[in-house]
Symmetry: D2
Subunit: 251 residues, 4 copies
């Protein structure tokens, strides 16, 4: 039994700090590193990648729509060809910084609105896949299972990697309950730990109606943007280790 | 006898067009491609690199201070460590785009204020050299001969490549006459052609006081940002070919 | 008989030039001045407003989604409260620049994707109207007649001003034929002139099915972003004057 | 005896938070509000100005070089005419937002590198003064006494207001000790309180050599960007009130 833990990282920008990357790098096995379009600047990227390398954490590119003021959380109706190029640009910038820091980019996970949009948006999903195929078709794409992006990635001959969310409620269909719905985000550390162990050891999650849903996630996403989130992530790691699950990067 | 012709390219941004890259790619042997910090966006970068590849033009990264509103033409008193990371970021972005377009980045030429500042500014020169050393120490740095950047590049064990300017007046010391001085920029196509042939065949230029200055440039910079500039560049190419000079990339 | 001619202006940015504002200011009676979010920077804004003032052209604010790389032409799914604040910011910036140049902002016309979105998007239309109401409820909003933005403006007690497009085909319902449809944009100067005179003297336009549609536009939008466009705009002005229509700002 | 307390505010940006504006607005009498060029976005500006108005805090514009990645803390060698226009733009944006929130801009205090540069840089000082003169010559400019900006402001017929820094060491000449020098920034709340009371009641400060320097500051700058800074600012306010000093805006 083995699982990957991933977390968004490098989301500071200039003088503004976000998250506790130093601590999270001791918890996770994969770091989704912001590439400057929603967060992160070149100097922040170096600090993040350096910390990842020092902790043997796998580096992933975390490309986004170009929108610092909204942190990449707003849909932008871009022409797909421009989106492809924006993703290539971001991956490349992180590749060079990773090389400078003695490591490399090993996967891609889209960020924010882009992550959510390619769950259903064929053209933007295909644009992301095209970018990865052109930069390095061996890079896996971390995504929500059962979605358009997972299918499009597979159809292109690339490698989708399914992830689950430690602190999100699931529908019986295996999709995330909308954040607009009460209870969509879980906060009880004990319940979160139990769910994550189930995800890792049984490949399933209990949906909001009590049914058991097959996920087969290879990675579990945890958050680190608040002190509470870091503590939950630490608890998740310890619970998995206690259950005999090996924490290791999927890449 | 052989020489390289280089030109700034990819300097459009979004809806704004600048220069005639399509034409210039048929003239030059090396293209200094803007990387998004002073000009160029990912989509423009693709078009530029694609055109370069189609014409067998060597692609160089053209990093700059991060300053779109001033086109990278204003000195920014950045901490050197941040400048290093900014240059790494820009080179990497262009490397990935070049890979996507079937070519690669073969040299680095700083842009605008950064180009001029590292002629004398030790810390910023060292910051640029450190960036190149960390990304790929085999990449030559195109620079003004006899300057701080040339020395720092050499001292770091990297490869400086000397360039001359087709349309600029030179001092007896081999530096450029300031643009503030009348006559600093030459406009007569015939005179420019004669000077360029002399640069390529004799390795010298005639300074403003009539003395002959040794340059030993391996590349000559021509401009393409106006219709007149494109015509001059075309004339330069033809004059060199008529003089039996082979036009070939230094990289 | 009187009509206003308006045109987008001030759409240069830094080193990048767009349009021929100097010429267009001798043709139009109202200038929609970019405010820095899709185009225009403070220095460009000064040049534009100065030229407008020198030609007795009325200055209007031309706010947009914050997206220089896409020239404000891409829908951004912003929270409405953020859109309101973005519009206030842009109007205010232009108000101060207009004061510095001895003139003032006399109306608001949303730009690009924002213009098109508020034709049907209630929340973004209301966000724009709220911004104008908070800055200065006496400022008219220039918009497409028969749309959500026109209705929302009126319901808020503000003043919508209907505009027509000199070079666009109309449906029998009085909406613009989509640019995706062949023939959506007219190019024949003589036909454009005839249509504009009809708009100004009869308040109608001939739709693509030959029917006559009532528009009652108080302003007609002409373009100035190409040499051809400037010539067409000049022809429109002359045709209106020949028809005895007085060209005067609606504001 | 009366004095003003001012503090930088509204320095969050998008998803990134900085400072505790809500608390600081209960302490200071004047808020230097970021205008979007070094920090602050339109939505943050609304929140800041609304909080200021709710606490009867005077609103000042806090313009900066356009440089979000470096928080306006890096010198940019701009053409003065462009700097003037950038300052006008920022003041205007805040004026409109202030009007929307039922208050107004009552003074201007340059930020960061711009603040420090105009202490000695004639052209940039004059550029700032020109901007204020063109937008509203009645707006005072908050600045370090005995500097180029103070002189240029006065010579232009505008109103410079001298400020002192609660937590900075002073030279015998009345200038700030460079941050590079150990002891340049004071951290002991009791000492800071004593110095501030002396500034307000005697118009002097004790320099690093023990001499007494005349400052005659009308405003004292306190910081609010860390929890410790907020506590110090609160202590400063209480010490001034205990000493019988009335806290009131200079504007």
């Amino acid at each position: 039994m083995r699982i990957d833990l991933n977390s968004d990282s490098g989301e500071s920008f200039g003088n503004w700090k976000m998250g506790d990357d130093a601590k999270m790098m001791t918890i996770v096995t994969s770091a989704n590193v912001a590439c400057g379009f929603h967060a992160g600047d070149p100097h922040v990227m170096r600090a993040t990648v350096t910390a990842a390398a020092a902790n043997n954490v796998t580096v992933g590119a975390h490309p986004a729509y170009r929108d610092l003021p909204n942190f990449g959380r707003v849909f932008m109706d871009l022409p797909p060809a421009e989106l492809t190029d924006a993703v290539i640009y971001q991956i490349g910038a992180l590749q060079a910084m990773s090389k400078a820091c003695g490591t490399k980019v090993s996967y891609v996970k889209p960020h924010g609105a882009l992550y959510n949009v390619i769950v259903h948006h064929e053209a933007h999903a295909a644009a992301v896949v095209k970018a990865v195929a052109e930069v390095d078709p061996d890079l896996p794409i971390l995504c929500l299972p059962g979605t358009v992006i997972e299918r499009v990635t597979r159809e292109a001959g690339l490698n989708p990697v399914a992830e689950a969310f430690a602190d999100r409620a699931y529908t019986p269909e295996g999709t995330l309950v909308s954040r607009q719905v009460p209870g969509a985000v879980l906060h009880d550390p004990v319940i979160i730990q139990q769910r994550v162990v189930q995800m890792a050891t049984e490949g399933t999650v209990t949906a909001v109606d009590g049914s058991t849903v097959q996920l087969n996630a290879q990675s579990i996403c945890v958050h680190g943007d608040t002190p509470g989130a870091v503590a939950i992530a630490q608890g998740v790691r310890e619970a998995l280790e206690s259950a005999g699950v090996e924490l290791v990067s999927f890449a």
